[in-house]
C-alpha cells in the first residue's frame, strides 16, 4: 500500500543552502569569481531564480569543483521545480564530496519530490548515518518513503518510538496507521484508525479502514469506506488505488481501469495503479503499454520482484526468450521461493529447447506450489 501524506504533512524539510561565500571551506576563489558567487547568492536570496541559476552556472564555469556552489545551484533549481536538473547538480557535487551530509539530504529531498522514494530513502539513510542530527528532520519523510516502497516494517520501527509524543497529530497517525496495516498489525492499526476517527470524520481514517477490510476480504465494508474516503477528499492519495484493487477483486476491471487512471492522474508514480494497469494492459495483450506501466512501477519500487516477473512475462509473450530467461534467472536467484517465476522459467527453457533445465525448473516450481497448497486454506468464499 502506498501512502503519500494527506492534509497534515510531515514538517517540511528545507533544502540546505550555503549562502555565504565565506563558508566555502578551503577553496580560495579568485576575487572576480568570488564576486560572481556573491552575486548569485544575492539573486538567490531575492528569489530571482532564473538569474540566480545563470549566475551560479557562470561561477561554476570558472570554478567547476565548488561543491557549495553546486549544492546551491541544485537548491535553486529545486526551488524552481527543476528537480531533474537539481539532481544532476547534487550528483556532480557528491562526486567531489561523497560524504557530504547536506548534499545527500538535498539530493534525497529532490528524489522525494520526484516520487523516487527508493533513491530518496537511500540518501536520507546515508545522511542520517553521517550526521545523526538530521534524524529528526528526515524521520517522517523516510517513513513516507518506506510506506511507498512497501517497507512497512521499517516504517513501523521508525515511527513507533515517536508515537508517545506525536499520537494525535493527523499526519503522524495516518503515516503510522498505514505502516501498521501494511505490516499486518491489524489490531494496532485499528487503534490508530479509532484515534483518528475520534476527532471526527476523516478521509484518511476511512482509507485505512477500507484497506484493512480489503485485506480481510470484507469487500462490502471496504467499498463503503473507500467511497466515503474519496467523497471526503477526492484527491486523497492512494484511495483510488485501493478502490481499484477492490474492483479488480470483484471482477470489474472496466471500472478498476478508470479508478487506477484517476489515481495516476493525481500521482503518476503510484505503485499499485501502475502495476495493475500494466497487468490489465498485458491481459489485453497490449504489451508495449504494459511495459510502460511496469517500468513506471519499477521506478517507485526498483527491485519489486512482482513487477520484474511481469516484465519477464511480457518478454516471453513478445518472443524475447533470452531477455525473459536472463530476467527470470536473476529473479529466482534473489527469490528462490518464487514458484511462478520458476514455472515461467521452465516454459522459457522448453521454448529454448533446454529440456533438462525446463524439467528442473518445473520440478522446483511444483514443489513450491505443493508446499503452498499444503498451507491451511483461507477463510474466504471463492
Amino acid at each position: 500500500m502506498t501512502a503519500r501524506t494527506p492534509k497534515s504533512k510531515p514538517a517540511p524539510l528545507c533544502f540546505i543552502i550555503s549562502l555565504l561565500a565565506s563558508t566555502l571551506g578551503g577553496q580560495q576563489p579568485a576575487a572576480s569569481s568570488d564576486a560572481l558567487l556573491q552575486h548569485a547568492i544575492t539573486l538567490h536570496q531575492a528569489g530571482e531564480l532564473d538569474d540566480a541559476i545563470r549566475a551560479y552556472r557562470e561561477y561554476l564555469a570558472v570554478e567547476p569543483d565548488s561543491v557549495q556552489a553546486r549544492s546551491n545551484l541544485g537548491t535553486v533549481l529545486a526551488r524552481a521545480g527543476r528537480y531533474d536538473e537539481a539532481i544532476a547538480e547534487y550528483a556532480l557535487g557528491l562526486r567531489k564530496s561523497p560524504d557530504n551530509p547536506a548534499l545527500l539530504l538535498n539530493l534525497g529531498l529532490a528524489y522525494y519530490k520526484t516520487g523516487r522514494h527508493a533513491e530518496a530513502a537511500a540518501r536520507f539513510e546515508r545522511a542520517v548515518s553521517l550526521s545523526p542530527q538530521f534524524k529528526e528532520q528526515v524521520t517522517l519523510l523516510l517513513a513516507v518513503c518506506y510506506n511507498n516502497l512497501g517497507r512497512y516494517k521499517d516504517a513501523v520501527a521508525l515511527l513507533a518510538p515517536l508515537e508517545k509524543d506525536k499520537a494525535g497529530d493527523a499526519g503522524f497517525d495516518y503515516l503510522f496507521g498505514t505502516a501498521l496495516i501494511g505490516d499486518g498489525q491489524e489490531a494496532a492499526g485499528t487503534a490508530v484508525i479509532s484515534r483518528i476517527l475520534s476527532r471526527g470524520d476523516s478521509a484518511e481514517a476511512y482509507l485505512l479502514r477500507g484497506t484493512l477490510e480489503l485485506s480481510a476480504h470484507d469487500r462490502d465494508s471496504a467499498r463503503a469506506d473507500l467511497e466515503k474516503a474519496i467523497a471526503l477528499n477526492p484527491r486523497l492519495a492512494g484511495a483510488h488505488a485501493r478502490l481499484g484493487e477492490l474492483l479488480l477483486s470483484q471482477g470489474d476491471s472496466e471500472r478498476a481501469r478508470a479508478v487506477f487512471a484517476h489515481e495516476l492522474a493525481l500521482d503518476p508514480d503510484e505503485f499499485t495503479s501502475n502495476l495493475n494497469m500494466g497487468v490489465l494492459a498485458k491481459q489485453d495483450q497490449g504489451y508495449a503499454e504494459a511495459r510502460r506501466y511496469f517500468e513506471r512501477a519499477l521506478r517507485t519500487r526498483p527491485n519489486d520482484p512482482g513487477v520484474r516477473y511481469q516484465l519477464a512475462n511480457v518478454d516471453l509473450s513478445t518472443g524475447n526468450l533470452e531477455l525473459a530467461r536472463r530476467a527470470l534467472e536473476v529473479l529466482i536467484a534473489e527469490s528462490p521461493d518464487f514458484a511462478e517465476a520458476h514455472a515461467t522459467l521452465a516454459t522459457v527453457y522448453y521454448r529454448l529447447n533446454r529440456s533438462a533445465d525446463g524439467d528442473r525448473e518445473r520440478a522446483v516450481s511444483q514443489k513450491l506450489m505443493d508446499r503452498r497448497d499444503a498451507l491451511p486454506a483461507g477463510t474466504k468464499p471463492r
Binding site: K282, D284, A339, E340, A341, T379, K380, P381
Partner: protein, 555 residues
C-alpha cells in the same frame, strides 16, 4: 473487398455516401434459440439436494449426453443427477438419471425406466460420456460418480445393461470423486479407450464445513487433496485394463474437471487436455507407445500468462481459426480470465485471450461447460459457455449463458443478448451439449441448471447459411470414428477443419457427428478424412446441406 466497395460508392454518389458506405457494417443475421423442453412431459430436474448444508459435490450436478441410443437417426438426450445427502443415495425418483427419446416432432419421451438407466444405485452422479466401446454400432454410456463409476452397455434394443463389474472399468481408488470422462482411441487399435477426470477424495463423512460470519459457503478446493486421473485401455471383448500408472497419466495429481481430446501436434495420435480446478492444467501428449508425457509447461497451457492456476472448469479443443491445428478453450470463474490458446503449428500454444477480446468478454461470468460451436454456420467456430456462480451468495450468482461470436478467426464479440430470452435465462447452469436435434444442420444446445428442468434450446436456423454434417463409421478404426480429422475445402477454396469427438465442456458429451458451417457457399470441392487407422479418404464434389454418412474404406 470492402475498400473496393467504398471507392465505387464514392464515384457514384460523392463523399457523403462514401462515408456512410465505409462506416456501415451490416450486422449479419443471427439465429436465436428457443427452449422446447416445456413441450415435453418429463420429470427430470437437476437435483443436487441443496437444503442449506453445503456439501462439496452439490456445485457439480447435471451432466448431459447427446447421442442416438436407438439409431433412428434422431439424437436423444441423457442426463445425470444428484443424490440425497449425506446418504449419497438416489432415495427417490427426483434423483434418478434420465433418458429422453427424441420423437422427431419437437418433443421427447422419458424412456429411462424402460432403458434401465434410472441409476438407483449410483449415488451422486456427475459427468457422462457416450461412445461405442464394443464397436457394435450402438453408443454406450459411461457415468462418473462420487462412488464407483458405471459403464452401461447399449443392448441395441432400447435397453442398457450395467457392465461395470465385468468390464473392469470400475476400478478406482476408494472414495475418489470422478467428474468427467472422454472416449478416445489412444493407441489407434480400433477400440475406444477411456480417460476419467478425477477431482478428489471425498465422502459425506469427511466433508468440510467452511463459513464466514456464520454463513456457510462452498469450501475452497484447497481443503481437498488432488488425485490422479485414470486411463482405461480397451482390451476388446468388453474388458478394460486400468493403465493409469503404466501410461504415465497417474504421475500427475490434479483436481480434474473438463477433458478435451485432440491431436494437438498432428502426429496422428490423440492427446488429452484436462482442466484442473485451482491446480495447473494438464496436457498429456501421446508418446505413441502407450504412454503420455504431461507437457502443459512446454505448451504454455499449465498456467495463465501470470503463472497462476485458476479454477478451470470446462474444456474444448477445436480449430477456431481454420489453420489446421486444434486450439484450446477453457473457462473458469468470475474475475478470472477464460483461456483461449492458439495452436502454433503443433508446437506450442499461444495465449490469445487478450488479443481475441475473450479476456474482457469473460471476466463477469463463471463458466462451467463450454465449447467451440459454429452456431450460425458461418464457418467460424464460436465460443459457448454455460454459466452460473459456484455459490449462491453474491448478487449476480445466477448468470445467463454466453455466446462469443468468432469474427474471421481472429477475435470474438459477445452476441448473447441477441440470441433470445431462452438463451439468456439466468441460472446456475452446469452441463451442456451441442447437438443437432432436428437434423437441420444448425447446432442446438442442451443445458442443465441446478434445481431446474434442463433447457433444450433449438436453433432457429434462419440465416440462410449452408452446412454439412458428417457421420463417420469406422471399420479398421473405432466404429464411432472418434479421432478422425476432417478437412473440408469449399468450391471457393476456403478450408475448414474439425475432428470427431464426443467429449468437450464439462460433465457432458456431444453429438458425435462432425459439423461444418459453410456460410453462403453451397458447393464443397473436397472432404478429406484422416482416420485414426492412418487411412486417408478423400470425397470429391460433396453436396452441402446434408447429413453425410462416410464409412471408412478398407486398406
Amino acid at each position: 473487398m470492402r475498400r473496393w466497395w467504398a471507392v465505387a460508392a464514392l464515384c457514384v454518389a460523392g463523399a457523403a455516401l462514401w462515408v456512410a458506405a465505409a462506416g456501415a457494417q451490416p450486422e449479419p443475421r443471427r439465429p436465436h434459440f428457443t427452449d422446447i423442453a416445456p413441450k415435453s412431459d418429463f420429470a427430470y430436474r437437476t437435483d443436487n439436494n441443496f437444503t442449506g448444508r453445503k456439501y462439496f459435490p452439490q456445485t457439480m450436478c447435471g451432466g448431459v449426453a447427446a447421442f442416438d441410443f436407438d439409431n433412428d437417426g434422431r439424437m436423444d438426450l441423457f442426463f445425470t443427477n444428484g443424490a440425497k445427502l449425506p446418504e449419497m443415495e438416489k432415495t427417490d425418483a427426483r434423483f434418478y438419471n434420465c433418458l429422453l427419446r427424441n420423437r422427431g416432432d419437437g418433443t421427447f419421451e422419458d424412456v429411462t425406466a424402460r432403458a434401465g438407466l434410472l441409476g438407483k444405485k449410483l449415488g451422486f452422479s456427475f459427468g457422462v460420456a457416450a461412445g461405442d466401446y464394443d464397436n457394435d454400432g450402438y453408443q454406450d454410456l459411461f457415468i462418473c460418480n462420487a462412488g464407483p463409476n458405471t459403464l452401461y452397455h447399449n443392448n441395441g434394443d432400447g435397453t442398457f445393461t450395467d457392465v461395470t463389474e465385468r468390464s473392469g472399468i470400475g476400478t478406482k481408488p476408494k472414495d475418489i470423486v470422478s467428474v468427467a470422462a472422454a472416449w478416445f482411441d489412444y493407441d489407434n487399435d480400433g477400440k475406444l479407450d477411456l480417460i476419467v477426470s478425477n477431482y478428489t477424495v471425498w465422502t459425506p463423512q469427511i466433508d468440510k464445513i467452511c463459513a464466514v460470519n456464520g454463513q456457510e459457503y462452498y469450501c475452497h478446493p484447497k481443503v481437498y487433496p488432488s488425485v490422479a486421473h485414470r486411463l482405461y485401455h480397451n482390451l476388446g471383448n468388453g474388458r478394460f485394463e486400468d493403465v493409469t500408472d503404466s501410461s504415465g497419466i497417474g504421475k500427475e495429481l490434479g483436481k480434474g474437471m473438463g477433458i478435451a481430446i485432440a491431436d494437438f501436434n498432428g502426429d496422428g495420435y490423440m492427446d488429452v487436455f484436462v482442466a484442473n480446478d485451482t491446480v495447473r492444467n494438464f496436457l498429456f501428449i501421446n508418446q505413441k507407445n502407450g504412454t503420455f508425457k504431461e507437457s502443459g509447461y512446454e505448451w504454455g497451457v499449465a498456467y495463465d500468462e501470470n503463472g497462476n492456476a485458476h479454477s478451470s472448469m470446462g474444456a474444448d479443443a477445436k480449430d477456431y481459426d481454420n489453420d489446421g491445428f486444434p486450439d484450446l478453450f477453457y473457462n473458469n470463474l468470475k474475475g478470472q480470465i477464460w483461456g483461449l490458446f492458439r495452436n502454433m503449428g503443433g508446437k506450442y500454444m499461444s495465449y490469445v485471450s487478450g488479443l481475441s477480446h475473450v479476456s474482457r468478454l469473460s471476466e463477469h461470468s463463471s463458466g462451467w461447460s463450454n465449447g467451440f460451436v459454429d452456431y450460425n454456420n458461418d464457418g467460424w467456430k464460436d465460443l459457448y459457455s454455460s454459466n452460473g456462480d459456484i455459490d449462491n451468495m453474491g448478487e449476480i450468482s445466477r448468470q445467463p449463458d454466453t455466446m462469443f461470436e468468432n469474427v474471421n478467426g481472429k477475435e470474438f464479440r459477445d452476441v448473447s443478448a441477441q440470441l433470445g430470452p431462452d438463451f439468456n435465462h439466468a441460472g446456475f447452469q452446469r452441463g451442456s451439449a451441442f447437438v443437432d436435434l432436428n437434423n437441420d444442420g444448425f447446432p442446438d444446445l442442451v443445458v442443465t441448471s441446478l434445481a431446474e428442468k434442463p433447457r433444450i434450446l433449438m436453433n432457429s436456423a434462419d440465416n440462410g447459411n449452408h452446412w454439412l454434417l458428417v457421420n463417420t463409421i469406422g471399420r479398421r478404426s473405432n466404429r464411432d470414428g472418434i479421432g478422425a480429422v476432417l478437412k473440408l475445402t469449399t468450391a471457393s477454396g476456403r478450408t475448414l477443419y474439425n475432428h470427431v469427438t464426443t467429449s468437450g465442456g464439462f460433465m457432458s458429451s456431444s453429438d458425435k457427428r462432425v459439423h461444418f458451417g459453410l456460410g453462403t457457399e453451397k458447393a464443397i470441392d473436397s472432404l478429406e478424412i484422416r482416420w485414426p487407422s492412418g487411412i486417408v479418404q478423400i470425397l470429391k464434389k460433396v453436396k452441402a446441406d446434408q447429413i453425410l454418412t462416410v464409412t471408412e474404406p478398407g486398406r
